[in-house]
């Protein structure tokens, strides 16, 4: 069935809640309203208030309560309405969700999923366009997933709902309704920690995730038209990260461009670039290029287009690297 990402995630939540009655959904406006992006539409009618909870308006309260639920036998899917607001709950995620397994040597675990729309360039209000993956990838003990397609969104969320550790599930809101693709009705899982090679190529490796994979694909098409053979990798799982697939590809191509919409400094591109330098230095034909958001606060809608990497900037990055 053709679905866009909102439908795919919604479909997954329905299926998973039917499969496992310990799963519940909680957050602001997720129940009666079906979520501000309609991701949880219909769940309230089907599963009721006990399992689809419109919570008080407190991100820290949502994640804190979810953490307690998870440790004592439930499997909550907590929604943070926009990633820009997650930092009220960051304390719980960093200080406890990420550490509880370790500090109890495996006796207490936090099998919960925290879903949140991220990404920008959709003319949203301030604090609604963040791409804050780095602060979460930085924390040992958290799993960080970021799908770039409806198919991957459903399969990754299904895996997240069987994971034994806390999962941060970043949904690129820019892609929520950007395109539809075939998504199987039946349940399937996409393994956590495994990147997807979208296209094989020999001149250059392009690494991205989430909304930037969609934009990068367009740039890659152009590059191919210009005679550059690009191997395109969509990470899907940011932590754990499938560095092996990146290394294998770079060994073959000798060139790499990393694209992300988060700011450049200490963005995940820095880590990927460092890892390539550590392992593949003698294979490199050019420096690893990062095409990213600038090191500034994301501008208001009138000028936000200057901030986000677009097809043109990505294509320039590819050409610059190939022609180095």
């Amino acid at each position: 069935m053709k679905m866009h990402m909102v439908q795919a995630i919604n479909n997954c939540l329905f299926q998973e809640m039917e499969r496992d009655e310990s799963i519940l959904v909680m957050g602001e406006d997720v129940g009666v309203d079906g979520g501000v992006f309609r991701v949880t539409d219909g769940l309230y009618d089907k599963f009721g208030r006990e399992r689809v909870i419109d919570t008080p308006l407190s991100e820290a309260g949502i994640v804190g309560t979810a953490l307690g639920m998870a440790t004592l036998g439930l499997r909550p899917v907590a929604e943070i309405q926009f990633q820009g607001f997650v930092f009220n709950a960051y304390h719980h995620l960093v200080q406890h969700a990420a550490r509880l397994r370790n500090r109890t040597r495996g006796k207490f675990t936090v099998p919960m999923v925290v879903r949140m729309p991220y990404s920008g360039n959709v003319n949203a209000l301030e604090h609604h366009s963040e791409s804050m993956e780095s602060p979460f990838i930085h924390i040992p003990g958290l799993i960080v997933l970021c799908p770039a397609s409806p198919y991957d969104a459903k399969g990754l969320l299904a895996s997240a709902l069987k994971a034994k550790d806390p999962v941060m599930f970043f949904e690129p809101k820019r892609l929520y309704r950007a395109f539809k693709e075939d998504v199987p009705e039946e349940r399937y899982e996409i393994p956590i920690g495994k990147a997807s090679v979208l296209r094989e190529g020999s001149d250059l490796t392009l690494v991205s995730w989430g909304a930037m994979t969609y934009v990068s694909s367009k740039a890659v098409e152009k590059a191919e038209e210009n005679g550059i053979s690009v191997e395109q990798i969509d990470l899907r799982s940011l932590s754990p990260c499938d560095y092996e697939t990146i290394h294998e590809s770079v060994k073959k191509t000798g060139r790499c461009v990393v694209v992300h919409e988060a700011v450049k400094t200490l963005g995940f591109g820095a880590e990927i670039s460092a890892r390539i330098m550590e392992k593949d230095l003698l294979r490199l034909e050019a420096p690893v290029k990062r095409v990213t958001g600038w090191d500034i606060t994301i501008p208001y809608p009138k000028t936000e287009e200057y901030f986000f990497p677009d097809e043109k900037r990505i294509l320039e990055g590819i050409e610059e690297t190939v022609n180095f």
């Binding site: 309260g61 309560t65 397994r101 109890t104 207490f108 040992p140 754990p240």
Partner: protein, 353 residues
């Protein structure tokens, strides 16, 4: 339009055993001799253990420690009142509770001696690992209570926080969510009058901490936290109310931290000797001893036997804990359920010969 009163509320203060050991017979709970004996033994053991821990820290045999002296009634009263099927979410000040829940005393020492292994506690004991940040356990207790309710387990979730914790956002979140979600919680506030050096009066202008419960639609009760009979009775009643009616309660237990916050601070800097003397006269163990004597349980011989037993127990626990030796390599093993390739490589690098 006439002015209408839209809210009225009040908070009761309860004391059953006064500072001189005189009991209010109307409020006196019916406690078996066996339980009275256990209450006393645990209070004495807790104090003996606490003293030992302080000595261990002062001689470099243990790391930073948060003494419990003065707060025995809040800890032991709760530990005895809770059912085995209830959950307890302690703060670091109540670590003795793990022992009351069936975990060897030596394991708690192992935790304070710097090994993660100390908190490797099986969930079957229904005691949540204590947290070092202030008040974070409170919303977890609310979520945990929601789990108990959803799973149809008739279990109360009893959490601890100090007077300082009531200033944290977590306190608000926990009570607010508990009210809305109607969870089986008992939120104990151990008001020991100090958050490190900051006195209770500088935490909030609120006259009592218990009254904060009313704003969330919960019941709030204040009690003498150095009166183990009051603690026992109120925790029993609140836990029953939680289990059977899904009604959360806030219990402010007014006590006093006789020692320092942790072994890293000196209370002389921020409080007077007169104040400490005032609270010494309200000691939880002294008054309970008089009560037990009147009940025909306490005698000089009994005291001797209880003290010797406690001392032996503590010495054995410390000996066992000091013999413990963990495996440093374990630090890589529990980051996630499944070890990543990245961590495998780092582990190898960290422990290469």
């Amino acid at each position: 339009m006439p002015v209408k009163k839209v809210f009225e509320g009040s908070v009761d203060y309860i004391q059953i055993l006064d500072k001189n050991g005189k009991v209010d017979e109307e409020l006196e709970p019916d406690i078996s001799k066996d339980v009275l004996d256990k209450l006393y033994r645990h209070m004495v053991t807790a104090r003996t253990w606490d003293k030992k821990c302080l000595a261990l820290q002062r001689t470099g045999r243990m790391y930073t420690y948060a003494p419990l002296v003065g707060q025995e009634a809040t800890i032991i009263g709760t530990g005895m009142a809770a059912d085995k099927t209830d959950w307890i979410f302690p703060s670091y000040r109540e670590s003795y509770l793990y022992h009351m829940r069936g975990i060897p005393l030596s394991q708690i020492n192992i935790s304070w001696m710097g090994w993660e292994k100390g908190l490797q506690i099986d969930p079957e004991y229904r005691t949540f690992p204590y947290a070092i940040p202030i008040g974070t356990q409170l919303p977890y207790a609310t979520g945990g209570a929601y789990s108990m309710k959803m799973k149809g387990e008739k279990s109360a979730v009893i959490s601890f926080g100090g007077d300082g914790s009531t200033s944290e956002g977590e306190f608000h979140d926990a009570l607010n969510f508990a009210g809305v979600l109607e969870t089986p919680n008992v939120f104990i506030i151990s008001n020991n009058h100090y958050a490190i050096s900051v006195p209770r009066k500088w935490q909030t202008k609120s006259e009592t901490l218990a009254q904060k419960a009313l704003a969330y639609g919960l019941k709030g009760i204040q009690a003498d936290g150095n009166d183990v009979l009051a603690v026992y009775r109120l925790v029993k009643e609140s836990a029953r109310r939680a289990r059977e009616e899904n009604k959360p309660t806030v219990l402010e237990l007014v006590t006093y931290r006789m020692g320092m916050h942790t072994t890293s601070d000196d209370p002389k800097k921020y409080r007077s000797e007169e104040e400490v003397e005032y609270w010494k006269k309200r000691d939880p163990i002294d008054r309970f001893r008089i009560y037990l004597e009147n009940k025909g349980i306490w005698s000089e011989d009994y005291e001797k036997e209880v003290n010797e037993g406690a001392k032996q127990k503590v010495e054995d626990a410390v000996k066992e804990a000091e013999e413990f030796k963990g495996d440093p390599k374990e630090m890589f093993n529990h980051v996630l359920a499944d070890m990543t390739k990245n961590l495998e490589e780092q582990k190898k690098e960290a422990f290469k010969k």
